[in-house]
Structures are given as structure tokens and as C-alpha cells.
């Protein structure tokens, strides 16, 4: 049982990592939430194997450890909230730039253009407009 959970967690984290390395924000959001699920599965798995339900019948010794489940529940709620915020941010980014891609860091773009003198710089507005290949 625990091995199965570990495998599931590994697959979730693996897929999530692949998605995070993409350029599209929507994929990154999905990737982050997959890794979050993987972590929650690991938390559940950390409680040991299967046991009796808590409080309803069963021996005192054979209970499932309830603490990891409480922790997992907390983690799910928190991750849910953050993912919702992330989605809102991704949507805002799409509205602003009309584009789903992660943009390069502004300074990176300055450096990449090899601009030595500020006077030669393209107006910053062009660089900020999400138009990554201005020129």
C-alpha cells in the first residue's frame, strides 16, 4: 500500500516537474498543482499502512494514524488557495500581454541585447509590452 502511494507520488511529481519546465503559464499552473498533489499523497503515505477507522470500533492499536490525514487536509486547502491565486494571476497576465508565455526578465533582455549605452536602448515600453522580439 505504502509502496503504491510512493509510486503515485513519484509519477505525480515527475509529470509536474516536466510541466513546470514549459514556457506556457497554464502548463506551469497544472504542473505546480500536480507536484502539490504528489506531496499530499506522500503525507498520507507517511502515516504507515492501512488500519481501522478512528473512533468507530476496532482495537486501540489498529487505528490508522489520523494525524497525517489532518496534515494532508490542511495542505490541500492551502495549496488550493494558492493555486486559485496563481490562476487569477495567470489570467491577468494573459489579459495584459495577450500571451500565455512566461516572459524573460527585463534585465536579461537588456543584457541579451548587448546594450552598453542607455542612450541606445529601445524605449522600455516596447520591452514591457510582451513583445519579446522587438527590433
Amino acid at each position: 500500500m505504502t509502496t503504491l502511494l510512493a509510486v503515485i507520488a513519484a509519477v505525480l511529481c515527475g509529470c509536474g516537474t516536466y510541466l513546470i519546465l514549459q514556457r506556457q503559464l497554464s502548463r506551469i499552473v497544472v504542473g505546480v498543482s500536480l507536484i502539490g498533489h504528489g506531496a499530499v499523497v506522500l503525507l498520507i503515505g507517511s502515516g504507515g499502512g492501512r488500519g481501522d477507522p478512528v473512533f468507530v470500533g476496532g482495537e486501540l492499536r489498529s487505528f490508522t494514524d489520523p494525524l497525517p490525514q489532518a496534515l494532508a487536509l490542511t495542505a490541500i486547502v492551502i495549496t488550493f488557495g494558492v493555486i486559485a491565486f496563481l490562476l487569477a494571476l495567470a489570467y491577468l497576465s494573459w489579459i495584459i500581454t495577450n500571451d500565455d508565455d512566461v516572459e524573460d526578465d527585463l534585465e536579461d533582455r537588456f543584457v541579451a541585447r548587448g546594450l552598453r549605452r542607455r542612450d541606445d536602448m529601445v524605449p522600455a515600453d516596447d520591452l514591457l509590452s510582451g513583445n519579446r522580439e522587438v527590433e
Binding site: 513546470i20 503559464l25 506551469i28 505546480v32 507536484i35 502539490g36 504528489g38 506531496a39 499530499v40 506522500l42 503525507l43 503515505g45 507517511s46 502515516g47 504507515g48 494514524d65 494525524l67 497525517p68 496534515l71 490542511t74 495542505a75 492551502i78 495549496t79 488557495g81 494558492v82 493555486i83 491565486f85 496563481l86 494571476l89 495567470a90 491577468l92 497576465s93 495584459i96 500581454t97 512566461v102 516572459e103 526578465d105 527585463l106 534585465e107 542607455r118 536602448m121 524605449p123 522600455a124 515600453d125 520591452l127 514591457l128 509590452s129 510582451g130
Partner: protein, 506 residues
């Protein structure tokens, strides 16, 4: 006295709820915020005096005894951090009220700010590793909102990076928690400290490193610092100031707490920490030298300064950890002040780009004084607080025989001074630029579009900044008692027995 321990967490949370309810009345929101944070400051002061005289205070939430219930622990280190954080939060709130930027425009500012305060307090006080995760999330969630307040294009861009990186770090923290619970069956820090001694040392090292990576991302140490200089400068000035002063230091606090308390002496990654510290210092300061925007320079300096604190921890000696604690106290005050000054510079000249500012020493001499003192302090020039903090660390390093790291700290200090002089020479000397003449020249501040409302009251902002500068001078003047306090806090951290005994067998 015991009940007071929970108040720095509960008061801001309740006030945040109240603040949302009074959303329409900005003046009432301001009053709630200032009164609450003043109360937290007073409570923290009382706690510090009490804990320093009597000893560690423990609160078991709900009355459940330690390994089962949620524990709040106020020891010297936690309470020192709590007090300095409360003072900074209060000062920056007053500054934000004076600035009337984001604070004026957004209903969400005050409630979110108070939630941030609650999260910061909880991360210092909690004695439970999972609760630390919750505290981080409370704090980070508030910081996401504050960072993207206004929703300008570059805020959204850098906000995405910040949120994704923080979320990944939190997920990694969860995974670490799962491993820790699977190996020991507890998440209570005092209990963990006892039980981890019986775990095979290889497993222990893996857990220690996993936690180090998690908190390393939050604290922005090399090689996990890249998100910081990009995301911090885009937020409103007051927000950047409080982030710069507090958030990364919460990460450093967590590193120091977990590495000293949880893991026995043979698993402590001392050499690794020293290497990381040295590289962090060098990379941060080199990054700062390459920048030409005041806020970005200061952001890179945060990274550089984190290295000093990690170095103090990496020595794992009484003097080293005491130096690190003293350095944190000094750094929080000075860094916050510098960002507040950066905000004043932007207000004055409409831009943070060094190319667009000049001659401020003539047009705003007081601003020059307010910048010069914390800047010299940051570089470690005597007689300011930075000098005392660096001296403590250098002495600790020499005592431990770590000459290479000590050499690096001294070299980095010179480079820090160099980049502070760069700001000074560009912004304060030279020809004054007339801000009203060409506020929107093509290249004006892509990073720092002036977000200043015309009605801001620079006098209040100057007063707050001046008070913080006075505080940093105060740290230098009272360096003796403060250092002895840091030493007592460090002694508590090294001798974990007292902590575990007080928590587990009250």
C-alpha cells in the same frame, strides 16, 4: 504572562478581520493597523524582558500537552526576532500611510498587511514544524497579494515567478514534512530533537539537507536566490521595504532554528553552510555592482547580506551564532531603512534609475544624511551598527580558524561600500535633474514607474525613516548589552536541552 505569547499572532488576525469590515473607511483602517501593531510591539517588548529574566515560555494550544497539541514557544531568539519584526512592521505601516500610494488606493492593503504580521509572528513563535509550514503559507499568501497590488504588467510578470517559486518551496517543505513524520512519527520540534538522535545518521543528513534547501529558497541563499532581485523591486516601496527587512530573515530564522534544534552535532552541515555563505556574499555583491537602479542594487545586497548570517550559523559556535543573531537585528533595521530612503529618492526625483537622478545632496540634504548613515552601516564602517555586527562575525570566524570565509567577508564589505558609493555619487552628487522637466523620458524607470500619488506627505515618511536611522544608531550605541543578549540567545540555541525540557515536561 503565558497568555501573552499567543497575542502577537491573534491580535493582527482579529484586526485584519475588523479591517476588512471597515473597508470603506480608510482612516479607521489606518487606526486599526497602527493601534494593533503598536500593541504587538509593546507585548513583544514585555515578552522579551520576561523571557530574558525568567526563561522560555511555552503555550500549549487547547491545553493538549506537547507532542500532541500545537505548541507555541517563546525563547530568547524567537522573542528578539518578534520584537524587531513588530517595530519594522509598525514603522513601515506609518511610512505607507504617509506615502498614500498603494495604501490609499487599495482596500486590501491594510487587512493583508496585518495577516502578513500574523504570519511572521507565528513563524517565530511556533514550536511545531507543520505549524511553521502553515505560518509560512499565511505569510506568503499575504505577500503574494501585497506584491501584485495594483496589477501592473511587470508586477504580474515578477509576481508569477515569485508565486511559483514560493509554492514549489512550500511543496518541498510538505514533502520534507512527510519524510520526517514517516521516520519519527512526530512534527513537534522539541520531540523531533529528541527522536532524531536515534535515527541513522545518513537519513538524518538527508532530512537536514532537505530542510536546508526549503528554507534556503525562502532565505534566498546561493544558488536559490535568483527570484529575489527580480521580484522585490516591482512592489510598492513600503511593501518592498518590509519584504526586504523581514521575509528572507524569516527564512534565515527557520534555517538557524531547525539546524541547531533538530539535528545533533554530527549532522550539522557546517562546511557546506560556510561555502554557501561565502558564495552567496560574493554573488550578491557582484550582482549589486552590476545594477543601475537603486532598488535593484539594494535587492542584490539582501542576497549578499544573507551570506553573513549563514556564515555565523555555519561556524556552529557560540560566538558565531551570537554574531549571526546580532547581524540579523542590525540588518533588518538598516535594510528596511535603505528601502524607505529609496522610496523617498523616487518620490523626490520620479525615478530610481541612477541615470535619472543627481544632485540630491544639494536639493535634499536631509535625504542625503538619511541615506548615508544606513549605507555606511551596511558596508560596515565604524562606528555604525554594521561594523559591530561584522566585527562579531569576523572574530567568531577567526576563533574557529575559518580564515578563507573571513577573508571573503572583508572583501565583500569593500565591494558593498563600493556599490553604496556608486549610489551616492550618482544620486546625491552631480548635477540635479529637474524631475518636473522630463519625468517620462523614454527610458525612465521601466522597473520603477513612479507610483506616488501627488498627495503623499513626505514629512511623515521622512520622520519614520529618520526614526529608523536613529534606531540603527541606537543599535550601535547599545551594542554591548545587545550583543550579550544575542549571546544568551545563542547559548539557548546551542544547549537544546532547556528548550526540549520546557516544552515536553512543563
Amino acid at each position: 504572562m503565558t497568555k501573552l505569547v499567543a497575542l502577537p499572532i491573534l491580535l493582527p488576525l482579529l484586526a485584519a478581520a475588523l479591517s476588512i469590515a471597515c473597508g470603506r473607511n480608510r482612516n479607521l483602517q489606518r487606526l486599526i493597523g497602527v493601534v494593533t501593531l503598536t500593541a504587538v510591539t509593546v507585548i513583544s517588548t514585555a515578552l522579551l524582558i520576561h523571557v530574558d529574566n525568567v526563561g522560555i515560555k511555552v503555550v500549549q494550544a487547547g491545553g493538549w500537552p506537547a507532542p500532541i497539541g500545537i505548541t507555541l514557544v517563546a525563547d530568547r531568539f524567537a522573542v528578539i526576532m518578534l520584537l524587531i519584526a513588530a517595530i519594522m512592521l509598525l514603522a513601515v505601516l506609518v511610512y505607507a500611510i504617509g506615502q498614500r500610494g498603494a495604501e490609499q488606493r487599495h482596500v486590501a492593503f491594510h487587512p493583508t498587511y496585518l495577516v502578513l504580521a500574523a504570519g511572521v509572528s507565528l513563524s517565530f513563535l511556533t514550536g511545531d514544524l507543520f505549524n511553521l509550514f502553515v505560518a509560512f503559507e499565511v505569510m506568503l499568501m499575504a505577500s503574494y497579494v501585497l506584491l501584485t497590488l495594483g496589477g501592473r504588467a511587470e508586477q504580474v510578470r515578477t509576481g508569477m515567478t515569485y508565486v511559483v517559486i514560493s509554492l514549489l518551496a512550500s511543496t518541498l517543505f510538505l514533502i520534507a514534512l512527510a519524510f520526517i513524520y514517516a521516520t519519527t512519527g512526530t512534527v513537534n520540534m522539541a520531540d523531533l530533537s529528541v527522536r532524531l538522535e536515534d535515527i541513522p545518521s545518513g537519513l538524518r543528513s538527508a532530512l537536514a539537507l532537505l530542510l536546508l534547501i526549503v528554507f534556503g529558497i525562502k532565505a534566498a541563499v546561493f544558488p536559490l536566490y535568483f527570484w529575489l532581485p527580480d521580484s522585490y523591486p516591482t512592489a510598492p516601496t513600503a511593501v518592498t521595504a518590509v519584504f526586504a527587512g523581514l521575509l528572507t530573515k524569516v527564512g534565515v530564522y527557520a534555517i538557524i532554528r531547525t539546524q541547531t534544534l533538530l539535528f545533533p552535532a554530527d549532522t550539522r552541515p557546517g562546511t557546506l553552510l560556510l561555502i554557501v555563505a561565502a558564495v552567496t556574499m560574493v554573488i550578491g555583491v557582484l550582482g549589486a555592482i552590476a545594477q543601475d537602479d537603486v532598488k535593484r542594487i539594494l535587492s542584490f545586497h539582501i542576497v549578499s547580506q544573507i551570506g553573513y548570517m549563514i556564515m555565523g550559523l555555519g561556524l556552529f559556535s557560540l560566538a558565531g551564532i551570537a554574531g549571526a543573531i546580532f547581524y540579523i537585528i542590525h540588518h533588518i533595521v538598516v535594510k528596511t531603512t535603505l528601502f524607505l530612503v529609496a522610496g523617498l529618492i523616487e518620490l523626490r526625483s520620479g525615478s530610481g534609475r541612477l541615470a535619472n537622478i543627481g544632485g540630491l545632496a544639494h536639493t535634499a540634504p536631509w535625504l542625503a544624511v538619511l541615506f548615508l548613515i544606513p549605507a555606511l552601516s551596511l558596508a560596515g564602517i565604524p562606528p555604525f551598527s554594521g561594523f559591530v555586527a561584522k566585527l562579531a562575525l569576523v572574530q567568531a570566524g577567526l576563533d574557529a580558524g575559518q580564515y578563507i570565509v573571513v577573508g571573503v567577508t572583508l572583501a565583500v564589505s569593500i565591494l558593498t561600500l563600493f556599490s553604496m558609493i556608486k549610489i551616492w555619487a550618482n544620486a546625491f552628487w552631480g548635477q540635479p535633474h529637474d524631475a518636473t522637466e522630463s519625468p517620462s523620458a523614454p527610458i525612465t524607470a521601466p522597473i520603477t514607474v513612479p507610483t506616488v500619488a501627488p498627495i503623499s506627505s513626505p514629512r511623515l515618511m521622512m520622520a519614520v525613516t529618520g526614526a529608523l536611522v536613529a534606531l540603527s544608531i541606537g543599535i550601535a550605541v547599545f551594542a554591548g548589552p545587545l550583543y550579550r543578549l544575542s549571546e544568551r540567545a545563542a547559548a539557548d540555541l546551542i544547549d537544546t536541552k532547556q528548550y526540549t525540557e520546557t516544552v515536553l515536561n512543563p
